[in-house]
């Protein structure tokens, strides 16, 4: 298993990393040129579309929250040596659980109470879904990648079933979602924008928690030990199973929270694509950041801005906004290739040093 700590050694292959990103950027610029637009114009427009108006900036913040939450959760699982691809499903179940709570409480409990319960329900839903993948992994010896992906499909199917079935709008059966909740059940936002202070605070608290736990606690240290080698850590007296399941639970809790907030703060209803693919995006964020919690915020911010800014591609340039997905993918691939090359360079340097010595 790769050590996340490997990034901390001085990198003789830094040029490869930078070089790969530059090549990636040139490739993207070429793509944009092919569509008949100036890459600079497109870049400027995308930046403007992410930060030009308060609505747009608020949207960047609103997207930042689920990205940060999911990425923080993934920090735990990655450092425990787990590839929690089920993060999407955990987010969806969080959304479903929050919707369930709101549906049960909307007529009986005051708004703030119902929303608080819904958030807790979202967290609980995420935990349950993640522990399911965890149990399959730890006790069933099924790769967590496949367990997670499988559970993603189940969660997605469940959302679609509920929207078309028991939770459909009166007289309507459409994939456009359940009936919106009354405004008393919307988390308050800053002005008329979409940024919710509650969601932002939740994201920040979870981020600080993650950084502290991973850097300054015994738990974080042991989790990494388990991630490096579960068998030897068990020999040394660390209960690996418990740590692995804890990582799943933490990750699920944060993804579930993100899913619940999607319902309470963004969509105000359950839609089939409640996760908006942000779980997958957060996987890339964590991998790009070399599994380090400190890089979560800046990278999540960058990808959030890219995601929000890409809406201008169809508006202003009549371009397919899927191009933003391509940009995203190219950047991530470039970064990974760069890392691979730099590691090879480092290995060569080390080998050369050994020969010399």
């Amino acid at each position: 298993m790769a050590t996340p700590a490997s990034a901390k050694t001085p990198s003789p292959g830094a040029a490869y990393r930078v070089g790969a990103i530059v090549v990636g950027l040139i490739f993207i610029a070429g793509l944009v040129l092919l569509t008949g637009h100036s890459p600079i114009d497109v870049l400027v427009a995308m930046v403007k579309a992410a930060f030009g108006t308060e609505d747009q900036f608020a949207r960047v913040l609103a997207t930042l929250v689920p990205l940060t939450l999911c990425a923080c959760g993934l920090i735990f699982t990655f450092n425990a040596g787990l590839y929690n691809l089920g993060v999407e499903g955990q987010m969806i179940i969080g959304g479903i659980a929050a919707t369930l709570a709101l549906r049960l409480l909307q007529d009986s409990a005051p708004g703030p109470v119902a929303m608080a319960v819904a958030i807790l329900a979202g967290i609980a839903g995420g935990v349950v879904w993640a522990l399911l993948a965890g149990a399959l992994n730890v006790f069933g010896r099924i790769s967590e990648i496949f367990a997670g992906l499988g559970l993603n499909f189940v969660a997605q199917g469940l959302a679609v079933y509920l929207i078309f079935g028991p939770w459909k709008r009166p007289g309507v059966a459409s994939m456009s979602g359940t009936a919106p909740f009354p405004e008393t059940l919307w988390l308050p936002t800053i002005g008329k924008t979409e940024a919710s202070p509650v969601a932002l605070i939740a994201g920040l608290v979870v981020l600080v928690f993650t950084v502290i736990v991973m850097r300054n606690t015994y738990f974080g240290l042991r989790l990494r030990a388990v991630g490096l080698n579960p068998r030897s850590s068990t020999v040394q007296g660390i209960p690996a199973t418990r740590y692995l399941l804890s990582a799943f639970a933490l990750s699920g809790a944060m993804a579930g929270l993100a899913g619940g907030l999607q319902v309470l703060a963004i969509f105000h209803r359950l839609i089939p694509n409640i996760s908006s693919n942000l779980g997958f995006l957060s996987l890339l964020i964590v991998m790009l950041g070399n599994f380090n919690a400190l890089f979560v915020l800046p990278l999540a911010f960058f990808f959030s801005a890219l995601n929000v800014g890409s809406l201008t591609l169809p508006i202003q340039f009549q371009l397919e906004s899927a191009l933003a997905g391509v940009i995203q993918g190219v950047l991530v691939l470039a970064a990974l290739i760069g890392r691979g090359l730099s590691q090879q360079a480092r290995a060569r340097a080390r080998a050369a040093a050994v020969r010399k010595g």
Binding site: A2, T35, G36, H37, S38, D41, A49, G52, T53, D55, Q56, R59, T63, Y83, L85, I145, Q156, V160, F164, G171, V172, A173, S174, M175, S176, G177, K192, I266, F267, I271, P272, N273, S276, N277, L278, F280, L281, L283, L284, M287, N307, V308, L311, T312, P314, I315, Q316, F317, Q318, S321, A322, A324, G325, V326, Q328, G329, V332, L333, L336, G340
Partner: protein
């Protein structure tokens, strides 16, 4: 173990890419009637300007975003938010055609169009956000084009009380309606497509040899229930009247896919549904979708020697996809009603704009300047077109009134009692499909 990690990265990237591209309706490119070729030059030549979302544009032609829009005296930008692709050969394309009509009729009006605004094609984007951005870019009016935008339209109208918001379809501005919201700057426009669908049903009934007609339905709501039911009423009338057969011998099956167009993994696949229809002996399909799967699959089956026909929907030129198999296309002509509403907005008289549910212009249902609902007769009608003409004439002079009772719901209860005629409210809020139809009511 970096290989594993990189595999995961590749998988995740792939997932995102698939999610980004996979949801695009598969049908669009083949089904495109002639594309506009003019590149958009909104400022240079306002009268002839066309915004063509599909045409590649040169950077110099792109309006530069400005923080402070400087409106010229005649400059009036409208944001048009489409639920699907602009070249879908159906509903969305009809709205784009409407925008072109407006630009030709009102000098100085330009459109900025955003397509595919739905959570499958554009995850993490909501209709309200697109409206925010369009308004920030200087749009003075917003048009939402799908029933599914009803909440977005209301939210946008509330957020910008001075921006006129049109929601094509929907009933929030209908004072007598069941969902009336007192939001003066929100207006609903819709055409009485029920008549178009009656013609569609009639064309189907005149041409089925097996006596089995299929209706390829989108999602279930008030609108689609009444449209499918209207198609059935038209079919039943023509089956009994012109073909002299018994209503009991007519099968009319409705299958809902779950959305206005195919979303892989979420809706039923309309291509598969079409194949089930055709293999099940349903030799005429009436399309209710935004996209042209009915036309495409019928064309394929006809090429393979099967005797099958279809009725298109939404777009005037819809038959062009497969002319020989096409019985016709009931279509929307949004232009004239858009012109009226936009002129009202320009004159500052938009607030409390009356709810529009326009009948066809019965003097000439295909008049581009006056009829909101029309019907293109298809080549596939052949000799039956004479009966079609009779039927349309009967609807026009009101000698044929298919909303007259007794009409029963699917469960046998009364929709309209004998001697009564359904009111607009009864028609709009029809609670079930009608007796004689086979399919889900809710």
């Amino acid at each position: 173990m970096f290989a594993k990690r990189d595999t995961v990265a590749a998988l995740a990237t792939l997932g995102l890419l698939l999610a980004a591209c996979g949801a695009a309706p598969t049908a669009a490119p083949t089904a495109v009637p002639p594309k506009p070729t003019d590149p958009p030059k909104p400022t240079a030549a306002p009268v002839a300007a066309t915004v063509a979302p599909t045409a590649a544009t040169k950077p110099t032609d792109v309006p530069k975003p400005t923080d402070v829009p400087k409106p010229a005296a005649t400059d009036y930008k409208i944001g048009l938010i489409l639920v699907g692709p602009p070249n879908d050969g159906g509903w969305n394309q009809a709205h784009v055609e409407g925008s072109k009509y407006v630009m030709a009729k009102i000098p100085g009006v330009t459109f900025e169009i955003v397509d595919k605004v739905n959570p499958a094609d554009r995850p993490n984007v909501k209709g309200t956000q697109v409206a925010d951005d369009l308004i920030a870019r200087g749009a003075k009016m917003i048009i939402f084009n799908s029933d599914d935008f009803k909440d977005d339209a209301l939210e946008t109208a509330k957020k910008y009380p001075k921006i006129p918001v049109i929601h094509a379809s929907g009933d929030y501005s209908w004072k007598d309606g069941m969902a009336y919201k007192n939001q003066p700057n929100l207006a609903n426009l819709m055409g009485q497509m029920e008549y178009g669908k009656m013609m569609a049903g009639c064309a189907a009934a005149l041409n089925t040899e097996t006596g089995k007609i299929a209706f390829l339905g989108p999602l279930v709501n008030d609108e689609t229930r009444r449209l499918a039911s209207a198609a059935y009423l038209g079919a039943k009338y023509c089956w009994e009247t012109y073909r002299g057969k018994k209503a009991a011998d007519l099968q009319f099956k409705v299958t809902w896919i779950g959305f206005w167009f195919n979303i892989p993994g979420v809706t039923l696949d309309p291509t598969k549904v079409m194949n089930e229809f055709i293999n099940g002996g349903y030799d005429v399909t009436i399309s209710g979708l935004d996209t042209p799967e009915a036309a495409q699959e019928t064309k394929k089956a006809a090429a393979a020697g099967k005797k099958v026909k279809f009725v298109h929907y939404d777009l005037k030129t819809g038959c062009d996809i497969a002319p020989d198999s096409c019985l016709g296309s009931p279509y929307f002509n949004w232009g004239p009603e858009y012109v009226k509403a936009i002129k009202a907005a320009q004159d500052g008289k938009f607030d409390n704009y009356p709810f529009v549910w326009a009948e066809p212009d019965w003097k000439d249902i295909n008049n581009v300047d006056s009829s909101m609902v029309g019907f293109t007769m298809g080549k596939g009608l052949g000799a039956t077109s004479a009966d079609m003409d009779k039927f349309v004439k009967g609807l026009a002079d009101k000698s044929i009134n298919l909303w007259k009772g007794p009409i029963k719901y699917q469960d046998g209860s009364d929709f309209v009692k004998a001697g009564e005629t359904a009111t607009p409210k009864q028609i709009w809020y029809m609670a079930q499909l009608l007796q004689g139809m086979d399919g889900q009511s809710k």
